[in-house]
């Protein structure tokens, strides 16, 4: 297998964009799972796709459309359901329904629809790369500040309440951040690849990590390694990137599960001697 293909000029920009996505989404996923709201990733991704399609049909910038609709959804979620996955499930099916209807009635959006739903990373351009780089920088700094507050509120909710403090603004800020990250990621790697990068590395990290810091590192490493492998396979085998990434991630999850079974296998009991 030619491992240098990803560094060729034609593929380097999509590769670098996806690499940023693969490093950033698992971190957002850790905090979404912390709040038991991982379904938000799929909701934001579906809505970003719908927003992108609507923007394409209206002749507006695709990235702006995705960001706008997922951002509105993050703000509206606080009104639909303060916590939990109910609100996200409603937003997810709404995004999917709107996208499919737009694709059925606007043939011009067909090309973009395929990219968003099949995960054709190779169509990303400099806008995608710089937007994602800017998000990684701003989002990273924001999460450094926000992380303690989100963990504290989750582990000691009454601590906040008893002192008359409110965590609402922290949750809203994180929701907006997650929505923006998912919208940018969806525009680059597609709906299901973005969701998988949020969900699978986090699931494995929650099982294997011995601390929050370590779990964050595990999630990022899994996301990045699986992404590089999937990118290479998709490129060399001429396959759509999104499904290849999903299959790679599912394989990683299965491997981690099997490894855990082996590592924590109970020793067989020896029969008692009489």
């Amino acid at each position: 297998m030619n491992w240098t293909a990803m560094f060729e000029p034609m593929f380097f920009m999509p590769f670098a964009t996806g690499l940023l996505v693969a490093a950033v989404l698992p971190i957002l996923g850790m905090y979404l799972r912390l709040r038991e709201e991982w379904l938000a990733a799929l909701a934001f991704a579906q809505l970003a796709a719908a927003g992108s399609l609507a923007a394409a049909i209206a002749g507006a910038p695709v990235l702006v459309g995705g960001l706008a609709l997922s951002g509105v959804a993050a703000a509206a979620k606080a009104w639909i359901a303060r916590n939990g996955n109910n609100g996200y499930a409603i937003l997810m099916v709404a995004g999917w329904g709107a996208s499919v209807l737009m694709l059925a009635n606007a043939p011009l959006a067909d090309h973009l629809g395929h990219a968003l739903f099949d995960g054709q990373l190779y169509f990303t351009d400099a806008h995608n790369l710089w937007s994602m780089a800017a998000f990684a920088l701003v989002g990273g700094l924001t999460m450094r500040w926000l992380s303690h507050k989100l963990l504290f509120e989750r582990m000691f909710p009454d601590f906040f309440r008893a002192s008359g403090l409110s965590a609402t603004r922290y949750h809203l800020l994180f929701d907006l951040l997650a929505a923006a990250g998912l919208a940018l990621a969806t525009a680059s790697v597609g709906v299901m690849a973005a969701f998988t990068l949020v969900f699978v590395p986090t699931m494995i990290a929650y099982q294997w990590g011995r601390s929050w810091r370590q779990s964050l590192a595990i999630a990022v490493v899994i996301g990045v390694v699986a992404y590089v492998v999937a990118f290479q396979i998709a490129l060399v085998q001429d396959q759509p990137f999104g499904p290849v990434l999903v299959v790679t991630m599912v394989s990683a999850a299965a491997g981690a599960w099997a490894l855990r079974k082996l590592a924590f296998r109970q020793p067989a009991r020896t029969p008692a001697k009489h």
Binding site: M155, D158, F159
Partner: protein, 190 residues
């Protein structure tokens, strides 16, 4: 020095759907330990939750000194075991004093919460609330699942911390309450 009580309840009736405790009146002064006492189901935890803000006050008033910082240790922390957090990270969240933890409990700091026994986790939760930089610590059944050695440790640390903050606790362990020299407030249903 401010002599106003940290927290003062006046004829408070509290509950969730309907009142389950009260009318209850008492004050918690700085440096004081007050224990809510009564039979099972009399609403001790509900009274504490009303102060903490997670139960509804139907009548009466709860006055808190302005700017009061309060920590609140709940009875059932076990549902959060799936979160990959170490003991050290748990204490860091509240600003709890990890260095003051006795050497016998120091190894707990680097273990994941899911690897701790119920008693060990309870001890860390109480420690996190008790040694946090707050004015009042609310402790709900702090001795639950904790062995005799752990209870002795809690008595020591509460005795030390009482100089820095007021403590309101709910406990069914009369010996523990008496060992702390806590002022006992009888709690009854409406």
């Amino acid at each position: 020095m401010n002599d106003a009580p940290c927290i003062e309840l006046q004829r408070v009736e509290a509950g969730y759907e309907q009142p389950v405790v009260g009318p209850l009146s008492f004050a918690l002064g700085a440096g004081e330990i007050v224990a809510l006492w009564g039979p099972n189901g009399c609403g001790k935890t509900t009274a504490m939750n009303a102060i903490g803000g997670s139960a509804r006050v139907f009548s009466g008033t709860i006055r808190k000194r302005p700017g009061l910082r309060i920590s609140h240790q709940q009875q059932n922390p076990l549902s959060l075991r799936d979160i990959p957090l170490s003991g050290r990270e748990l204490l860091a969240l509240t600003g709890g004093d990890a260095a003051a933890l006795p050497s016998s409990l120091q190894p707990l700091l680097d273990r994941r919460l899911s690897e701790l026994s119920g008693g060990q986790l309870q001890l860390l939760q109480v420690w996190a609330c008790l040694t946090a930089p707050v004015d009042v610590a609310l402790l709900d059944e702090p001795t639950n699942n904790v062995d005799a050695e752990g209870i002795a440790l809690l008595e020591q640390v509460i005795d030390r911390e009482r100089r820095r903050r007021a403590i309101l606790l709910v406990s069914h362990d009369r010996r523990f309450v008496e060992a702390l020299g806590a002022r006992v407030v009888e709690v009854g249903a409406p």
